[in-house]
């Protein structure tokens, strides 16, 4: 029960932050990416603001265990790999096209109107076929 409640609180804070920061406004996201147009630096402030408490939280995990028990995530894998690069490029293309990424896509569903639902549905479809795409890719060109 504590786990569910904490997840709800974490999600609520995330949703509030996405709403207040303006990151559900696609013009701000595309404005950040548009270095040759009317460049909007807001996203850098959002990123900086978000990384600060997270960095403190990571330091705090040392020598401790999560509130609900269990273990903290394993240290980050130093291996990069093709899927990381290829996936990130593909994600970036979609992010640039619509100005939406998964978090803001959920946060904006209630007020963004039908375009947000179309994007969200297509994103879910993409996530559903992703394991197949990964298997195809790995069989065609095995990752090292």
């Amino acid at each position: 029960m504590t786990r569910i409640l904490l997840a709800l609180i974490a999600g609520g804070l995330f949703g509030a932050g996405l709403f207040i920061s303006g990151m559900t406004d696609t013009s701000k996201v595309q404005g950040w990416l548009d270095v040759f147009g009317n460049w909007d630096p807001t996203l850098a402030f959002v990123m900086g603001g978000a990384i600060l408490p997270m960095a403190i939280a990571w330091v705090f995990t040392k020598g401790r265990t999560p509130v609900v028990g269990g273990d903290f995530p394993a240290p980050s894998d130093p291996k990069l790999g093709r899927n990381l690069v290829l996936g990130s490029v593909l994600f970036g293309v979609g992010w640039g096209l619509a100005g939406l990424c998964p978090g803001p896509a959920v946060a904006s569903l209630s007020y963004g109107g039908w375009p947000h639902w179309v994007f969200f549905a297509a994103m879910l479809a993409g996530m559903a076929i992703a394991p197949m795409a990964r298997a195809q890719l790995d069989s065609a060109v095995p990752a090292e």
Binding site: Q30, T42, G49, P73, G92, W95, C101
Partner: protein
């Protein structure tokens, strides 16, 4: 216009702090990395069967809090494109791409960079570069978005 810019930055910074606070609660409370694409993707492809309710509770928070905040703000406009082809193509790219890369702006960007993860930093460089090139190509050259 000039007067409104710093306000946007301030809201960006404040909202960013809340986003990071959410990630801190998820990490220190539940021992999990707050990655939106992983949380949603695990529900879609079945890889998150073991902790469905935790994922759903998180997403409920993300969805519901803006519902409560919306009436308090005037002029909320997301400026989303109404080009359905662009929306579908973008959604598919984001869905496949984030799952292939195992993370998006929240997982790789916020949670990865904050622990100096090389994967997080490399992913972030690539999706920002790809996003930038996409906007240049589709806005300034093709004029689609």
């Amino acid at each position: 216009m000039l007067n409104s810019i710093p306000t946007d930055w301030l809201f960006g910074l404040g909202g960013g702090l809340l986003i990071g606070l959410g990630g801190a609660v998820y990490l220190l409370g539940n021992g999990r990395i707050m990655g939106a694409s992983g949380i949603i993707g695990g529900l879609v492809d079945g890889s998150g069967k073991g902790n469905m309710s935790e994922r759903l509770a998180f997403l409920a928070g993300v969805f519901l809090v803006p519902v409560l905040l919306y009436p308090m703000f005037s002029e909320v406009n997301t400026h989303a494109t109404t080009n359905i082809i662009v929306l579908i193509a973008a959604g598919l790219c984001v869905g496949v791409g984030t799952r292939l890369a195992n993370g998006c702006t929240s997982g790789h960007g916020v949670c990865g960079i904050s622990r100096l993860s090389l994967r997080g930093m490399v992913a972030t460089v690539f999706y920002i570069m790809a996003g930038g090139l996409t906007v240049v190509l589709f806005r300034h050259i093709l004029g689609v978005i």
